[in-house]
Symmetry: C2
Subunit: 259 residues, 2 copies
């Protein structure tokens, strides 16, 4: 195992792999090899980083100090097994997968989990993204901390239990808030109104929550326990009964948080 990483390989060519590879290259690391289930994706990613596309997962080992597995959660264990004998470090990037899935024939393993949503087209400032590390040993942790702290100012340790709760919290904060935007759009469409009407509201609520305490920032009829308005709203959703039920449930959850 190298105490200081120079060459990094990627299994996976999706959003997480792309953003991490770009960030790591900018910090002076060489992206040595790329493997992807679909070889053409590996070639496309490798081309951008002037690195080698691998046909076989085991090819990732060549001239590499660290292999980052950034594939679908359910594929991580199999990908790790197919790396074969490797004296470098192997990490995965998943919130809800235990470090243990890497421990087959890999001595130095870790988790390198960025708490952020990535899409290919939109740039992300990794410096602001919290990274959560777990490792098979103190020595591996030190190596991973060096890499992570070049990418981000916010590097933490988290065991597998904390990491899964982090991921759950991120699902509520990210995926489920996004669902609320989707439902808002559907309701506007239903009223023949354009969905971009809600854009300023989306940004304002997020800005408030990211600079203060969302519990204190809460507004609206449920916070005020304004049952007249709540019932008007539920009636207005008569043609969307699934959302009427959801409105009642979420309004109750809010009301119960305030005395």
């Amino acid at each position: 195992m190298q105490k200081s990483i120079k060459n990094i390989a990627f299994a996976g060519s999706g959003n997480v792999a792309c953003h991490l590879a770009k960030g790591l290259q900018m910090q002076g690391y060489r992206i040595s090899n790329v493997w992807s289930r679909d070889f053409s994706n590996a070639m496309a990613l490798a081309k951008g980083f002037n690195s080698r596309a691998c046909q076989e997962i085991s090819g990732l080992r060549e001239g590499t100090d660290l292999i980052i597995i950034a594939v679908a959660d359910k594929a991580i264990e199999e990908v790790a097994r197919n790396i074969g004998e490797f004296d470098g470090i192997v990490v995965h990037t998943a919130g809800s997968v235990s470090i243990d899935v890497l421990k087959g024939n890999i001595e130095n393993s870790g988790v390198f989990y960025p708490l952020q949503t990535f899409s290919k087209v939109i740039p992300v400032d990794l410096m602001e993204v919290p990274f959560f590390l777990e490792s098979s040993s103190i020595e591996v942790l030190q190596v991973l901390e060096e890499v992570a702290s070049k990418l981000s100012t916010r590097v933490y340790n988290a065991d597998s239990h904390q990491r899964i709760l982090l991921h759950v919290a991120a699902v509520f904060t990210g995926n489920f808030s996004n669902l609320m935007y989707v439902i808002g759009n559907e309701i506007l469409e239903n009223a023949n109104l354009p969905s971009d009407l809600l854009h300023p509201l989306i940004l304002e609520i997020a800005r408030k929550a990211a600079t203060g305490d969302p519990l204190q920032m809460q507004t609206g009829p449920a916070r005020r326990k304004d049952t007249v308005t709540i019932e008007k709203h539920i009636s207005a959703l008569a043609s969307m009964p699934e959302y009427a039920d959801l409105y009642r449930l979420l309004a109750n959850l809010i009301s119960n948080k305030y005395k």
Copy 2:
């Protein structure tokens, strides 16, 4: 009724009144009078705008072309009734209240609804806030359009049914997404992790939703129909059963939106 408004009075001294009064003054209107249920609040607001604090609601009529009622929804009708005989325009600012509650002894009535959340301490760029107008006549509408278009570049007409659906959409987009942030925080506290970890995610998801289609932007285990991760997450919420149930419900809503 004046065809062109110069003097504007406010019933109410809360967040909506404060932000509107500030915006209107900046556009050259004079804030003539302020009434609030709590007279000391009326005095505080009036002082900031060099205007007169009224002890009685009927005092708002003096030297005023337009009275804006920005009080709790359930108080609007009574406030309007207590204005008394007035040949200017009276509007309310509520999403879920019909224009009809103003039509007792007021000839020229309207609705002036800003689709945004306001808090006292945080400045809002009104120019970006959509305003929705409804009125008792074309003449009133023209007057209100002139005022609204000085405050904002986004002025629309909406009848009472559209406005209530707008408000419902805003509750999902604003209040309920904020609830998701609150729950995310609680889960982090439960894992002994600091809540500001989620701030970059909050901002990133909001930015994406406000520049694209949140239905397309959706990520996460529910979108991927990754039932293994979903079940892991629900298990991790064992000590918070209300949120475990909510997770399952919202994950199903997401999954069902994608084929």
